[in-house]
């Protein structure tokens, strides 16, 4: 055969190699396909068998309505309203049409195209999961989108409930808001039944009580067609349970008074930040909590745009923070409650002990000045506290030592979280020898003990810690955990859970000492350290504070915050038999503690005291108006 091939090189013989090549290609094709077939059917057959059985039916979630929120008087603060949301199912949006569809959609719903891309790119779910790109679009836009669905493959308009915060910003920081679940949260929570296009509590009580408010999504078995669309519902596997509702300890009326008083002073004095808190000392229930500037929760509930969110984030006055708990500040003279009560409790002073107050105390070559450069002469705790003599409390602090001072501060709840049901609570700082060693690797210096005794230096507290301490003073020494939620109610109105007062501790200070401190706090007003506050027809007691912070100006003056923390006895009306109200404040039946905080106030008078005064006028509906506008003129009185 080979011989004949050489002898007879016919054209057909010449083609023999090509036939052989073709034959080899046939074998290769069949082997390649056969091997792949074997791989799919035999090697991985059971895997695909499972897949094929799981895809015909699937479990689909049944969404449910989120629980509502009421104030303690039953006023509804939040509603669920039906709105249109725009969602994209990536699997239905052809890759090549993506840019086109996104551009057109962006124009229709007035959302930057970049926001839509971001939502799609951050999608943590599968390509079949809906991705929310806009919430709360106008009905008109929803109609246009529905009509244009052929030009917008993969774009869906969903009717869903969104939160409507009925009072806008008034309860802003307390309620918080809901928003689209983030990719991170979704990855973490998908096993708990959260969906890719779900909403979740993002801040405030909406976040802390998420599990109560959300309810239980149900599930149903559905049959899908070849395109993945739901053909019919086969059965309900688990019915959905609506979320529980919250009844707050907050009294909407008191909250609005607090906001009104705070806004008045801040506007007049041009202040940027302020806090007002009202607490019931007998229970730890928070009746009002205002932090300004605040923001409208509805901005978020309707799906805030990236631009608007960025604006809130970069606002120098940080409206997203709840200054009542999220930040800590030097307490200033309000902290003298700790120093004074500690000194009395440890016997370093008695109520009768007179301490000489000078313009300053010296340690080595350093001088520690009183705010009053003249000194007050010899003072007892009553007058030392009332006039807020710094040199008086330097001496008490010096006698106590830093560690006893820190001990009493912790007794009053400073340097530890109160445990309120809001996210992001600050801890505060209470210096001690151990703390100083740990943080600075140094011992405490004597001058720092003085500073600590008047609430300056390292001391830092949250406004909530401070009002909680004064509440404990008012109730005779029980430190309660501040609470915001009074009851949890099921959708049918039955009570799921009642919140009872929770005692953090009974402060290790005798009732006698506490009574002395309450009288001293009343004396603050009686000696007119707080101007005409004492002239109100309402008996109150409290302590003002002026807390320096930051950097000295060209004349050596520091900017400062002003504080006022106080309480009223249960029967606060003035009694002719008790003209100064000293007897009234000896009782421990107070129903009302309040705190005003004016950040970076630098006003001629103590702005916080004016705020507190106005609040008391509103709360007790007094006929007189004792506000002194001139005290709110911006002027750095301190150090002048």
């Amino acid at each position: 055969m080979t011989g004949s091939l050489r002898r007879d090189p016919s054209p057909r013989r010449r083609l023999l190699p090509r036939f052989i090549i073709f034959g080899v290609v046939i074998v290769l094709v069949v082997v390649a396909l056969g091997v792949r077939l074997f791989d799919l059917q035999v090697a991985r057959g059971s895997y695909f068998t499972d897949l094929s059985q799981s895809q015909r039916t699937s479990l689909e979630p049944i969404r449910t309505t989120r629980g509502l929120i009421y104030d303690r008087k039953g006023r509804q603060l939040v509603d669920n309203i039906p709105t249109f949301a725009v969602k994209i199912r990536p699997a239905d949006l052809p890759f090549t049409q993506r840019d086109d569809v996104v551009t057109r959609l962006a124009q229709l719903i007035h959302v930057p195209a970049s926001d839509i891309y971001q939502a799609l790119d951050r999608n943590a779910g599968s390509r079949f999961d809906l991705v929310r790109v806009a919430s709360d679009i106008p009905t008109e836009t929803a109609r246009v989108l529905a009509e244009a669905h052929l030009q917008l493959p993969g774009v869906y308009v969903d009717v869903e409930a969104r939160r409507d915060y009925l009072y806008g910003s008034t309860f802003g920081h307390i309620l918080g808001f809901t928003g689209s679940i983030s990719a991170d949260d979704y990855s973490r929570l998908r096993d708990s039944g959260y969906l890719n296009d779900d909403v979740i509590g993002k801040a405030g009580l909406e976040a802390t009580f998420e599990s109560e408010l959300r309810g239980q999504y149900g599930s149903e078995e559905v049959e899908r067609d070849g395109q993945g669309r739901i053909v019919r519902v086969l059965r309900t596997v688990q019915p959905a349970t609506p979320g529980n509702s919250l009844e707050l300890t907050i009294d909407g009326e008191i909250q609005r008074m607090a906001e009104k008083a705070l806004r008045w002073a801040m506007k007049l004095a041009g202040l940027k930040r302020g806090v007002f808190i009202v607490e019931n000392p007998q229970t730890g229930e928070i009746l009002a909590m205002v932090s300004l500037p605040n923001y409208d929760d509805n901005l978020f509930a309707g799906g805030i745009s990236n631009a608007a969110y960025k604006k809130l984030l970069t606002d120098p006055n940080r409206p997203l923070l709840n200054f009542a708990i999220n930040e800590q500040y030097p307490p200033g003279s309000t902290f003298k409650l700790v120093t004074g009560s500690g000194g009395l409790q440890d016997g370093k002073i008695t109520p009768q002990t007179r301490l000489m107050t000078h313009a300053y105390l010296s340690i080595g070559r350093y001088r520690y000045y009183d705010w009053n450069r003249a000194g007050f002469g010899p003072l007892t705790i009553y007058d030392g506290f009332a006039h807020s003599s710094d040199t008086f409390f330097y001496q008490v602090a010096g006698r106590l030592g830093i560690d006893r001072l820190a001990y009493f501060a912790h007794q009053w709840g400073f340097g530890e979280k109160t445990g309120i049901d809001l996210p992001g609570e600050a801890t505060g700082i209470i210096p001690s020898n151990a703390w100083k060693e740990r943080v600075f690797n140094q011992p405490i210096y004597p001058g720092e003990v003085y500073q600590a005794g008047i609430g300056q230096g390292y001391d830092a507290v949250t406004p909530l810690q401070l009002i909680n301490a004064y509440s404990a003073l008012a109730n005779g020494g029980t430190l309660y955990r501040p609470q915001l939620v009074h009851r949890i109610l099921a959708a049918n109105g039955t009570v799921v859970q009642n919140y009872t007062p929770q005692v953090i501790r009974h402060i290790a200070i005798s009732p006698d000492v506490l009574r002395v401190m309450r009288v001293a706090a009343r004396n603050v007003e009686v000696v007119r350290h707080t101007y005409n506050l004492v002239d109100l027809p309402v008996v109150s007691a409290g302590k003002s504070g002026t807390a320096e912070f930051g950097i000295r100006d060209s004349r050596g003056r520091l900017p400062f915050h002003s504080w006022f923390a106080g309480f009223t006895p249960k029967d606060a009306t003035k009694n002719p038999g008790d003209p100064n109200g000293f007897e009234a404040v000896k009782s421990t039946d107070s129903q009302l503690a309040f705190l005003a905080f004016a950040y970076d106030s630098r006003t001629r008078g103590n702005a916080a005291t004016e705020i507190a005064k106005y609040f008391l006028q509103l709360y007790y509906h007094t006929s007189v108006d004792l506000r002194i506008n001139s005290l709110l003129v911006r002027d750095n009185f301190y150090g002048n």
């Binding site: 057909r12 792949r36 015909r56 079949f128």
Partner: protein
């Protein structure tokens, strides 16, 4: 030279004696493999006819009708002396172009493409017939240049002949069939003995022009399918990638022996166009690895028998025609089954015999009939 024995048809060729001689060289193996594949295709048509396979208009009854038409086409093509085709080559070519233009003008289809023409209520895809007509025209052309096969101009000429129908198919748009046309041209030139050097240059030029095609010729959905093949996770699962995934699930769940005919659970609902291009997926699901492998082996044997017809043919027309048919069968097998198994991009290329489509079956029957005709009239001693 052996080819000197090539003779023109004689009038006496169709006498009873001549016919009986001719039947002695009828390639029964070729016919057997083709018939076996057709029967498997029929079984699949029965299995995929949902509830009532025997009802008029079901996939199965239509397949039966197409089969009878196909057998007729095969018989006629076998009986008629293929050398008439040489005479008729150019009119056939013009008719071919006319059919494709008609398709563009009248056609209907799925997904915004026009591929089918309705004749008497039957959907007919002329581009399938165009494949065979193309093979005929090319075989005629190359046979006429038998002494200049090593010449570059032969290849260019074949390209010029192939270009108009190819472009007409491409703008339907039907990327798959235009690729099949390419396979026909290549098979004809390769087996026919064209210069390998110039053939490789031509292929190089075509590969180099892919970026141009991508940007100016390919439709979005075609690009998408290619993207989804290259990166199934990145592209659109619901569309192109979805088909891919579903077909693999269907095949994979078949296992070694399959779920049995008519027991395809994913078949009806989950495979888009399963009745057309994806039928190998439901075959794999119902008949398992054994059935799938049988189909592959039958194809391999068939393609080899087709090549042998060309080898035995003393007429260069037969050689080239067999090369074109072998090439198109192998190419469609590779691309269609490869697509179902997820190792080839998704294109609308049918699997000969198995895919439920009339035009494809008739086209193949015609091609095989012509091959038998060549075999009976031109065969040298059996291999």
């Amino acid at each position: 030279m052996g080819t000197l024995r090539l003779q023109p048809a004689r009038l006496g060729a169709l006498t009873p004696k001549a016919v009986s001689n001719a039947w002695s060289v009828f390639d029964f193996q070729l016919a057997f493999y083709a018939l076996a594949l057709t029967i498997i295709g029929l079984l699949m048509a029965y299995a995929n006819s949902a509830d009532a396979p025997l009802q008029a208009g079901s996939i199965f009854t239509r397949a039966l009708m197409w089969l009878s038409l196909g057998i007729m086409a095969f018989t006629v093509a076998t009986a008629v002396d293929y050398r008439w085709l040489k005479t008729l080559a150019w009119p056939v070519y013009l008719a071919n172009l006319g059919l494709l233009i008609a398709t563009l003008a009248l056609g209907t289809g799925i997904g915004g493409v026009s591929r089918w023409v309705s004749i008497f209520g039957l959907q007919f895809q002329f581009s399938e017939i165009a494949k065979i007509l193309m093979a005929v025209v090319l075989a005629n052309y190359l046979a006429s240049r038998n002494d200049k096969l090593g010449n570059l101009w032969t290849i260019i000429g074949a390209g010029i002949i192939a270009a108009p129908p190819l472009v007409l198919v491409l703008i339907q748009p039907d990327l798959g069939t235009s690729l099949v046309f390419g396979a026909i041209v290549f098979g004809a030139l390769f087996v026919g003995g064209a210069s390998l050097r110039w053939l490789s240059v031509g292929i190089g030029i075509i590969l180099a022009s892919i970026p141009v095609l991508w940007n100016y010729v390919l439709q979005d959905y075609q690009k998408l399918r290619l993207i989804s093949f290259l990166d199934p996770s990145a592209a659109d699962i619901q569309g192109a990638g979805y088909q891919l995934q579903q077909s693999q699930i269907a095949v994979g769940s078949g296992g070694l022996f399959g779920k049995g005919l008519t027991n395809g659970t994913t078949g009806d609902q989950y495979l888009p166009v399963q009745a057309t291009d994806m039928v190998y997926a439901s075959l794999g699901e119902q008949l398992g690895f054994i059935g799938g492998l049988l189909v592959l082996l039958l194809f391999a044997a068939l393609v080899w028998r087709v090549l042998l017809v060309g080898w035995r043919s003393r007429d260069p027309f037969g050689l080239v025609f067999a090369g074109a048919i072998a090439s198109v069968l192998l190419f469609q097998l590779l691309v269609n089954v490869g697509m179902v198994l997820g190792i080839m991009p998704i294109t609308g290329i049918p699997l000969p015999f198995i895919t439920h489509g009339g035009a494809s079956l008739i086209s193949i029957c015609l091609g095989l009939g012509i091959l038998e005709s060549i075999n009976m009239r031109q065969a040298k001693a059996t291999w």
